[in-house]
């Protein structure tokens, strides 16, 4: 029996089912009440939570089915920020609305805590995971007309996100994921990595007893960027082993993952084919050989909301099945909801 602990975890949001799409459309057109809309969202969130709980994942997401993009709930909730025109989201055929900051953002009602209160009791024995945009990604993908530098804006965003995290953990969240996909962009620099490490550490420090993870997906960060984020004080750092392929494995070989558990994005969340077991296992073995972590999270390569709904459920089941099988074959400790 190996001392390594392995668990499975879906990285982020789920796509909307037909009934959710229709409910949101009808709400927007005025033919559905807010209550009708919330009822559909709630029941649909229960489905995606149930699929994850059924796989034994210790931490599950509510699917974020009502979020139009990762920035939107904050761009709508905070003062001095407005969602504006559309821009392509990395290399996906998906567009987000560019948040326009016209002054220092100010909080109104919390975004995460109320949903944690709604869904945490339903998720038992799993705990709820909350996912936030990393402050560097948030800043660099926004339009900054505040009159302050991007770094200062990122700090302001980080302060608000830290407060969000603190309230979410108080409400029952057991895991906090900070998404910094911008760090996989070829334009990302050592300075970006240093800022992300500093601000993510600050956010994670407000997570109380919850586990924390910095996730970088869509491609592999440059070596100097990865080296920079290794300073982040979080429990796990996640890399996308599907899209980044060999580049991410080479990073793990060269730089390791000192001081952290590692999140391995091994189930392709951007394609619909069923990932082959041997290929997934090969990635996990190569990564574990490269950096010899004590704790491993097997995850989807990114959020599941870039593929159709039925495939997102299939990928969740694959991730669960493969996690169990890999842990068994490697003689590793399998972490399951409600006990190991």
């Amino acid at each position: 029996m190996s001392d390594v602990k392995i668990e499975g975890q879906v990285l982020g949001g789920y796509p909307r089912s037909r009934i959710v799409r229709r409910a949101l459309r009808q709400y927007e057109s005025g033919s559905y009440s807010l209550l009708d809309r919330e009822r559909v969202l709630h029941s649909s969130a229960l489905t995606v939570i149930g699929v994850q709980v059924g796989q034994g994942f210790p931490y599950v997401v509510d699917g974020m089915l009502d979020w139009h993009d990762i920035f939107r709930p904050y761009a709508e909730a905070w003062r001095n920020v407005t969602p504006t025109g559309l821009l392509r989201y990395f290399d996906n055929n998906f567009f987000y609305r560019i948040p326009l900051f016209t002054g220092e953002p100010e909080p109104t009602d919390p975004v995460l805590a109320p949903r944690v209160r709604s869904y945490a009791p339903i998720a038992e024995p799993s705990k709820l995971k909350v996912v936030i945009p990393g402050p560097v990604t948030f800043t660099l993908m926004s339009s900054n007309r505040t009159g302050v530098s991007d770094e200062e804006l990122a700090e302001a965003i980080a302060r608000l996100l830290a407060e969000e995290v603190s309230l979410a953990v108080e409400a029952g969240a057991g895991f906090v994921q900070i998404d910094e996909p911008i760090l996989s962009d070829p334009k990302a620099s050592k300075d970006h990595a240093a800022l992300a490490a500093e601000l993510s550490s600050m956010i994670a420090s407000r997570a109380g007893g919850a586990k924390t993870m910095l996730s970088i997906y869509f491609y592999s960060p440059k070596p100097e960027v990865y080296e920079g984020v290794l300073e982040t004080k979080v429990d796990y750092i996640m890399l996308d082993l599907v899209d980044a392929g060999g580049a991410a494995l080479r990073l793990l070989e060269r730089k390791g993952c000192p001081g952290h558990g590692v999140g391995l994005g091994v189930v392709n969340a951007r394609n619909v084919y069923s990932d082959e077991y041997e290929a997934v296992k090969g990635l996990v073995e190569a990564a574990m050989k490269a950096c010899q972590p004590e704790e491993v999270l097997l995850t989807t390569s990114t959020w599941l909301d870039l593929i159709p709904y039925k495939y997102s459920l299939r990928k969740t089941r694959l991730l669960g099945y493969y996690t169990h099988r890999i842990a068994g074959e490697m003689g590793a400790l399998l972490a399951l909801a409600g006990g190991e």
Binding site: R21, L24, H68, F95, P186, P308, Y309
Partner: protein, 331 residues
């Protein structure tokens, strides 16, 4: 049809898409629900195409497009009309707007003309001005589809290229003068191997084509792959410049760029209308960079205008055309 002389210096053009106007949106929905067939669909959309062309003519654009009024999505439109694809399940494009991301389930093949009817209709109302034939390129088709058949990106992209070439050949037989292939997906993965994969496909798409051969690429970090794309078999790169602050110019200079350039001077993500002076300054900036002469420069927006309100799109084009006119006097 009366002839139209495209200005020798700084001709103005568009990248392709225009806000949906007239009955196009409704026609797309009716076709999708099965209320109308393909023939009726294109017949209804003619009114929209005519309105788009009228807007271009009002603004004074030299080389036009059909505004892509029948294209709900740049990939889906072609996938629905090629062999080898099936309609996919719903995937989000933005907000609560979804499209059926196509799935490759068999060998890709060209069936019959896909865009020629709209293109020919646009030509018929363009008052003699040339109309570009605009296709979604093989790399973008590859990247923005799901593949359940090939399992090999190279094989798939080459078959896509062959299918698109059949469409181009049909257009050439009908007198196409400008053929543009849109590859927005390329700059999202700015890696040498990706650029080389597209080159192989473009060799199929463009080899021996007697019309002006254009590839449109936008956003992303194009400078990373510039050395690898300069050998593409095209006459013109149509590039987004305004949105990225003309960052690419020194790189073009460094690599001795000598093809024609479609020079993006209008930010299609901004509702703020660029002034004539602003656009003229952008043109001056290119000229001062001393990369290519004015006869190799085509002035156009960064990308398609489809996400803008119609009135803003019109005003942007109008100012762009006026700035090009002023530039012709100076350069």
């Amino acid at each position: 049809m009366p002839g139209y002389e495209v200005p020798r210096k700084f001709p103005t053009t568009v990248v392709g898409s225009y806000p949906k106007i007239g009955p196009a949106d409704k026609a797309i929905k009716m076709r999708r629900s099965g209320e109308i067939g393909e023939e009726e669909f294109h017949r209804i959309a003619r009114e929209s195409i005519r309105m788009v062309v009228e807007d271009y003519l009002w603004a004074g654009v030299d080389i036009l497009s059909d505004g892509e009024q029948t294209r709900e999505d740049m990939v889906v439109y072609f996938a629905e009309r090629m062999d080898g694809y099936r309609e996919g399940d719903w995937v989000r494009v933005f907000d609560n707007v979804y499209f059926r991301k196509p799935v490759v389930v068999g060998r890709i093949g060209w069936r019959q003309p896909m865009i020629l009817e709209d293109w020919e209709y646009a030509r018929s109302v363009a008052q003699g001005r040339p109309v570009k034939l605009i296709l979604t390129g093989p790399y973008t088709m590859l990247e923005w589809s799901f593949d359940l058949h090939y399992g090999d990106r190279r094989e798939l992209i080459l078959d896509l290229a062959r299918a698109l070439r059949r469409e181009i050949d049909a257009a050439l037989a009908r007198g196409a003068e400008y053929v543009q292939v849109d590859e927005p997906a390329l700059s999202t993965r700015p890696f040498r191997e990706e650029a080389e994969l597209l080159k192989e496909a473009l060799d199929i798409v463009f080899r021996g084509v007697g019309a002006k051969r254009i590839v449109h690429i936008c956003y992303g970090e194009l400078e990373r792959i510039l050395p690898y794309i300069l050998e593409y078999p095209v006459d013109q790169f149509d590039l987004e410049m305004k949105n990225s602050g003309f960052r690419l110019l020194p790189h073009l200079k460094e690599y001795g760029y000598d093809k024609e350039i479609g020079y993006g001077v209008i930010d299609v993500h901004s509702f703020q209308v660029e002034s004539v002076e602003e656009v003229k300054e952008a043109i001056d900036r290119l000229m001062k960079a001393d990369i290519v002469g004015p006869e190799k420069v085509y002035i156009d927006p960064d990308c398609g205008l489809k996400r803008l309100p119609r009135e803003i799109a019109r005003e942007k084009l109008r100012n762009m055309v006026e700035a090009a006119r002023l530039a012709r006097e100076e350069w």
